[in-house]
C-alpha cells in the first residue's frame, strides 16, 4: 500500500505544484487521480517514486518510508508507467526494454528471461518480444510500457494518463487489461468514463490540492464539483 502524509512539492522555478496532500491507497485498491491539466497529477506520481523530492511530509510504501536508503526498494515496489511510452521504451528490442528493470535488480539472465516472458504473456503481447518499439502502434507501445514495469514484480502500480494517444479499440483493450491486474493502482487521468470503468474510487485534484475523494460514479456525475475542477462531468 501507498501512504502519503502532508507532502508538498515546489519546482526549482518556484512553482508550487502540489501542497499538503495526504492519501492512502490500499493493496489491490484502484483509485483514479482526476484533475485538469496542470492540477499536479504528474507531479504527485513522480514524488511517490522519489523522482521529485517532496519538501515536506512522508511517503511510505508497504510500510517502508521513502528516503535515500530505501529509494531503490520503494521503486521496486511501486511501478510507474509514464505518460509517453516512448520515454519508457528506449532499447532496440521490446525484450531488452522489459529486461532492463530485472537486469538492474541483478538477476541472472535465466531469471530475467523468465520474468520478461511472464510479463509479456500475461499482457498478451508475447509476439512483440523480438520487435523494435519504433515500429509498434500506440496501443502496443502502451502495453509494452506496462510490461516493462510489470517485470519488476511491483506490489503497486501508478499510471500517468494511460489512455492518452489511444484509439477506442486500444483504449478498450487497456481497460480490460487494467481490470485484470491485481495490483493496487493509482491512475492519473482526465478520461472520466475510463476512470469509472477501472477505479471504484476517485480523488479529485485542483491546483495541487485534494478537492474531493469518494466513489468515482458519484463524483464524476457531480456537475458542480467537476466544473470547479475544470473537468467536464460525465452524463
Amino acid at each position: 500500500m501507498i501512504e502519503i502524509k502532508n507532502i508538498s512539492v515546489t519546482y526549482p522555478d518556484g512553482t508550487s505544484a502540489i501542497s499538503d496532500i495526504s492519501l492512502a491507497i490500499g493493496d489491490g485498491e484502484s483509485a483514479a487521480l482526476i484533475g485538469a491539466n496542470g492540477a499536479g497529477k504528474t507531479t504527485l506520481l513522480l514524488s511517490i517514486v522519489g523522482v521529485l523530492p517532496a519538501e515536506r511530509g512522508l511517503i511510505s510504501v508497504d510500510g517502508i518510508e521513502l528516503g535515500k536508503k530505501s529509494l531503490s526498494e520503494v521503486r521496486r515496489r511501486v511501478g510507474m508507467v509514464f505518460q509517453d511510452p516512448d520515454d519508457q521504451l528506449f532499447m532496440p528490442l521490446i525484450y531488452d526494454d522489459v529486461a532492463f528493470g530485472p537486469r538492474n535488480l541483478g538477476l541472472s539472465e535465466e531469471a530475467v528471461e523468465k520474468r520478461v516472458d511472464a510479463a509479456l504473456s500475461s499482457l498478451g503481447i508475447a509476439h512483440l518480444r523480438d520487435r523494435s518499439s519504433l515500429r509498434l502502434s500506440g496501443g502496443e507501445k502502451r502495453i509494452a510500457a506496462i510490461a516493462t514495469v510489470l517485470a519488476m514484480e511491483p506490489t503497486m502500480m501508478i499510471f500517468d494518463e494511460p489512455t492518452a494517444f489511444l484509439d477506442p479499440k486500444a483504449r478498450r483493450n487497456l481497460i480490460n487489461l487494467l481490470r485484470r491486474l491485481p495490483h493496487g493502482k493509482l491512475i492519473a487521468t482526465h478520461d472520466l468514463s475510463f476512470a469509472e470503468e477501472v477505479c471504484p474510487r476517485a480523488i479529485l485534484l485542483k491546483n495541487g490540492r485534494i478537492f474531493a475523494d469518494g466513489r468515482t460514479g458519484e463524483l464524476i456525475r457531480d456537475d458542480r464539483l467537476m466544473d470547479e475542477c475544470g473537468v467536464e462531468a460525465l452524463r
Partner: protein, 265 residues
C-alpha cells in the same frame, strides 16, 4: 523525412540480429570483445602499403558471418556509409606517391594506389569486425562487460547514452519538422531564417525527453554502478572460440603468407 522513424529503426536493426541464437551468439561477451580487439590491432599493425598479407584476414569476418548467419547486405550497407571517409583519407596518397609499385597487365600501379586500397581494405576489415560484434552480442552485454573490465564508468555510460540518444534526437527532429511543414505555406522545406530557433527548440526538447527517459530508467532501478551485472564464467566453448579466432590471426601476422602465394600460383 516522413519515414524517419523506420530509418531510426534501421540504425538499430543490426543489434536486432544480436538476439538470434547461434554458436557465436552464445559465446561469452568477453571472448568476443577480446578477439575483435585483437583482430583490429593486428590489421592496423601492418605497414601502409601492405595488401597481400592483409588479404587472408578476410576469412575472419566471412567465417563469423557464416556461423552467426548474419546477412551480408546489412553489414555492407553500413560499411558503405564509411566509404567516403576512407576514400578521402587515401586519395592524397594517390596524388603524392606516384612511384611505381608493380606493373599489372602493362599498367603502372603506383605506391599511392596500393596504399589507397590498403586503407580501404583495412577500414573494411575493422568496421566489419565491430559491426559483427554488435550483431552477435546484445549491446547491454557489451557495455556490462566493458564495466567489468574496469573501463571508467563515465565512458561506458556516456557511450550507452549516446547510442540511445541518436534515436531520441532524430525522433524529436522528425516530429518538429512535420509540425513545421504542416504550418509553412511555401512547402520548400526548412527555411534558413527558421533554422536557429528550430535547432534551439530541438536541443531543449531532446534535453527534456532525455531527462524523462532517464527518470523512467531510474524508476526501474537503473544505477550505472549496478549495471555491471553478474559474472558469468567462461565455458570450454568460450575458450575454444578464443583459441579458434586468436591463434590463426596471430599466425597470419607472424608468418609472411606471401611465400605461400608463390607456392600456390
Amino acid at each position: 523525412m516522413a519515414d524517419i522513424r523506420s530509418k531510426i529503426a534501421d540504425i538499430y536493426s543490426l543489434e536486432q540480429l544480436s538476439l538470434k541464437k547461434s554458436w557465436v551468439h552464445d559465446r561469452h561477451p568477453l571472448v568476443k570483445l577480446a578477439s575483435t580487439f585483437l583482430f583490429i590491432i593486428l590489421v592496423v599493425s601492418f605497414d601502409r602499403y601492405e595488401l597481400a598479407r592483409l588479404a587472408p584476414f578476410i576469412f575472419y569476418p566471412v567465417i563469423l558471418m557464416a556461423l552467426s548467419e548474419t546477412p551480408w547486405p546489412i553489414v555492407l550497407k553500413r560499411f558503405a556509409l564509411t566509404l567516403p571517409f576512407c576514400l578521402f583519407a587515401g586519395i592524397s596518397n594517390v596524388i603524392f606517391e606516384r612511384k611505381t609499385a608493380f606493373i599489372l597487365m602493362g599498367l603502372n600501379i603506383s605506391v599511392g594506389v596500393v596504399s589507397l586500397f590498403s586503407i580501404v581494405f583495412r577500414a573494411f576489415l575493422c568496421v566489419t569486425a565491430v559491426l559483427l560484434l554488435i550483431a552477435v552480442t546484445p549491446m547491454s552485454r557489451i557495455t556490462a562487460q566493458l564495466r567489468r573490465l574496469h573501463l571508467p564508468d563515465i565512458f561506458v555510460t556516456l557511450f550507452e547514452m549516446l547510442y540511445r540518444y541518436i534515436a531520441v534526437l532524430l525522433g524529436e527532429a522528425s516530429t518538429m519538422y512535420t509540425a513545421y511543414m504542416l504550418r509553412s505555406t511555401e512547402f520548400k522545406g526548412l527555411q534558413m531564417r527558421h533554422m536557429g530557433s528550430f535547432a534551439g527548440q530541438l536541443l531543449i526538447r531532446s534535453y527534456d525527453r532525455a531527462e524523462r527517459v532517464y527518470n523512467a530508467m531510474k524508476c526501474r532501478g537503473y544505477d550505472s554502478f549496478a549495471a555491471r551485472g553478474k559474472k558469468k564464467r567462461l565455458s570450454a566453448a568460450d575458450y575454444l572460440y578464443l583459441a579458434a579466432t586468436c591463434l590463426p590471426l596471430i599466425a597470419l601476422r607472424i608468418i609472411d603468407v606471401r611465400a605461400a602465394y608463390s607456392i600456390v600460383f
